[in-house]
């Protein structure tokens, strides 16, 4: 019977989600709560290796273990059901703050024929794939007519601003990657359902630009320390030592009522 593996799979997924709901802080791989789950996933591995590698990857992600995430991703990709594997690892990459890498898988998932567009487009925009979502939208609408009932005007507005500045998704990804690096250094995942909140800013005196905020469940002091670190990394690492033209991003305090990242 396959009842046992299904139960194990559901149990480990539930336990992972419970961990994330409890706190956005990265965990220690050697902690009791993680090791208990590792043992459960090892049992799962005997009946469904792919599911197990996906769960190990998710665990590595919430421990901020970048190498671990990629190692389990490679193993899972060798097994059948690559579609689900990519979708699940995409979420893990986002939880680990590996936004640029997540964009690569996101492009693949956004192809309408893969069947994930409806599930992933909002998160893809939040992870900086604004142009990718917009460019795939007409195809996706042909495949899923119900998408025509949704309001994509915020994406359209952001796209217009990006085009005016020559801003690309990978430009945004390069900034979000710095933020992910800082998040891992501070052991904190994004808070809420979406990686970031995207706004189009239209100050009367200056050209419009797009503004990403990654919401964190942290103190004002810590948020500011992260933003200070971000400014330093922008200068050190980004081309020209500045934000790409037409965008800015920063960390902001999330309120407890906001939903947290889901595994």
């Amino acid at each position: 019977m396959i009842k046992v593996p299904q139960t194990l799979s559901a149990e480990t997924a539930g336990a992972l989600n419970a961990l994330i709901s409890e706190s956005d802080r990265f965990r220690d791989w050697n902690s009791a709560e993680i090791q208990t789950l590792v043992r459960a996933v090892e049992k799962l591995q005997k009946v469904d290796a792919r599911e197990a590698f996906v769960r190990f990857g998710a665990l590595a992600a919430i421990c901020g273990d970048v190498d671990g995430v990629f190692e389990y991703y490679k193993k899972a990709l060798l097994l059948p059901d690559v579609l689900e594997t990519k979708h699940e690892f995409w979420t893990s990459l986002l939880n680990a703050g590996l936004y640029g890498k997540a964009q690569e898988i996101g492009s693949w998932l956004l192809d309408a024929k893969r069947g994930f567009f409806q599930k992933v487009w909002q998160q893809a925009v939040a992870a900086g794939q604004v142009l990718e979502v917009w460019n795939r939208l007409s195809d996706a609408k042909r495949t899923y007519p119900e998408l025509s009932e949704l309001d994509f005007s915020s994406v359209e507005n952001a796209v217009a601003v990006m085009r005016a500045h020559g801003l690309t998704d990978s430009d945004i990804g390069s900034v979000l990657d710095l933020m992910g690096e800082i998040q891992r250094a501070h052991s904190i995942m994004f808070s809420g359902v979406f990686v970031s909140i995207l706004r189009v800013m239209r100050p009367p005196e200056d050209p419009p630009y797009i503004y990403f905020t990654i919401q964190l469940d942290a103190s004002v002091d810590e948020i500011h320390a992260l933003n200070r670190e971000l400014a330093r990394l922008v200068v050190e690492r980004l081309p020209e030592g500045s934000y790409p033209q037409g965008m800015v991003a920063s960390f902001a305090k999330a309120y407890p009522v906001e939903l947290r990242a889901a595994a």
Binding site: P203, P207, D221, V248
Partner: protein, 139 residues
């Protein structure tokens, strides 16, 4: 006469007695202008000023872009300070615009506190640059 530090002191005072959305907006505005004026004074005192001019943009965006793209012949340390001030001011600018223009938004105390912290760091960075500016002016 007023100095950037006066705007900053005002922001601190307003935060101490702030009771809600409108007060937080005022705090953010004062904190932003403390940082903006300090950054502007820093940029004006540079021995070699950036020639970047952005058409169809106002004084704020033009200042940011001059700070982001300083003159190539400028002292390395001053270039880094210039870009660092720009990166911080970039993060502060949308808070000020939300506070001043987006009346349907609810402005929170943590945003006001973040604005004050960022302004404080911009002022500190500008002060850090003073000896370098003096040294470069005396050459």
């Amino acid at each position: 006469m007023a100095a950037p530090e006066d705007f900053f002191s005002q922001a601190i005072k307003q935060l101490a007695s702030a009771a809600g959305d409108l007060d937080y907006r005022l705090v953010i505005g004062r904190a932003y202008y403390a940082a903006y004026h300090a950054a502007n004074q820093f940029e004006e005192r540079l021995p070699r000023r950036s020639q970047v001019i952005v058409q169809n943009a106002g004084a704020h965006e033009n200042l940011l872009q001059r700070l982001e793209r300083p003159d190539g012949r400028l002292d390395y340390g001053l270039k880094v300070i210039s870009k660092d001030i720009a990166a911080q001011l970039r993060m502060l600018k949308p808070l000020r615009e939300l506070a001043d223009y987006e009346l349907k938004e609810t402005i929170r105390v943590d945003q006001a506190e973040e604005a004050i912290r960022t302004a404080k760091d911009v002022l500190a960075e500008c002060n850090k640059a003073r000896p370098k500016l003096k040294a470069s002016q005396s050459k």
